[in-house]
């Protein structure tokens, strides 16, 4: 068995802010989210056009218009649009 340091670091560089082979992500304070299941729930198709991207320190307005800062969040990035995913798993 051989081990490539470059390949390992490259894998981390390519996947650190998205899901890797396990197909799940987690946002601080929230449950583990299956990326493919969430795509189906949100009607994001074709699946291959949508990629999950992790974000840090995301600011957005809440239901009352107040600005809040999420320690972590994620975006489903698709053709020309991004859907925000917060820690309760709802977009």
């Amino acid at each position: 068995m051989s081990y490539s340091r470059d390949a390992a670091v490259d894998y981390a560089r390519r996947n650190w802010n998205t899901n890797c082979h396990d197909g799940v992500i987690s946002i601080i304070g929230g449950p583990i989210i299956s990326v493919e299941a969430k795509k189906r729930q949100l009607g994001l198709s074709p699946s291959s056009d949508w990629k999950i991207e992790w974000m840090r320190k995301y600011r957005h307005s809440d239901d009352r218009g107040n600005m809040v800062e999420e320690q972590e969040a994620a975006n489903f990035v698709g053709p020309g649009v991004a859907l925000f995913l917060c820690r309760d798993g709802m977009a």
Binding site: M1, S2, Y3, S4, R5, D6, A8, V9, A12, R13, N15, W16, N17, C20, H21, D22, V24, I25, S26, I28, I32, W54, E72
Partner: protein, 208 residues
């Protein structure tokens, strides 16, 4: 290997023929000393061990892992990190740290021929007997009677220094996480240096 179960990753990685457990569930200050010496390389692994107790994460045990992407920074999931300090997932409170280095590409150690065999070292007034063999070291408090490798006692790994130092090599002891930085005397039969950057340690080669 594909797993999100860190205890299994721990067992698997330890079992690889080219893996070296540099430190085994050691405190943060001990891990820091090793990492600051740049013993860990890109692609090496750190495992985070929650000390079992009522407040321990997941009840305790190995709960997180990360790979080094530089000698001092890591990348991991599920909280996404890349090139962050190795302490980012957990500081020392309630945690201990295991450092797994892959030795398949370790360069030959120029001093190996001199170091090979038994040495009697003195630390804190107590004799310890070290055996060096191709990057691995053992120590025992029992005076050896034969010249062969005992493969008993505590194990360590030694490396050429990777940061500026006057020492010829350093030893990382797996169970304690101690670091000894040693130099070979001009007579090639003596060693002297420091234990964990402070206490003196010295000794001489044994003829067996």
């Amino acid at each position: 290997m594909k797993t999100d179960y860190v205890p299994w990753a721990n067992s698997f990685l330890r079992g690889l023929s080219f893996s070296k457990v540099i430190a085994d569930e050691v405190s943060q200050d001990r891990a820091t000393r090793i990492i600051d010496k740049q013993v860990m390389k890109e692609g090496d692994v750190i495992l985070y061990f929650a000390v079992p107790g009522p407040d321990a994460e997941l009840g305790g045990g190995y709960v997180h892992s990360a790979i080094f992407v530089s000698p001092t920074t890591i990348s991991c999931h599920t909280i996404s990190r890349f090139n962050e300090d190795w302490t980012a997932p957990h500081d020392g409170a309630g945690f201990r740290f295991t450092l797994i280095h892959f030795g398949h590409d370790d360069p030959p150690i120029p001093e190996d021929a001199t170091l090979a065999g038994w040495w009697e070292m003195n630390w804190r007034g107590t004799p310890y007997f070290y055996f060096f063999e191709r990057g691995r070291a053992w120590y025992t408090k029992n005076r050896p009677s034969r010249s062969t490798n005992p493969k008993l006692g505590s194990i360590g790994h030694y490396f050429e220094p990777r940061v500026a130092t006057t020492s010829d090599f350093l030893i990382c002891w797996k169970e304690t996480g101690s670091v000894e930085e040693l130099s070979i005397g001009q007579d090639r039969q003596s060693l002297a240096g420091r234990w964990n950057g402070s206490e003196q340690i010295a000794g001489n080669k044994l003829s067996l």
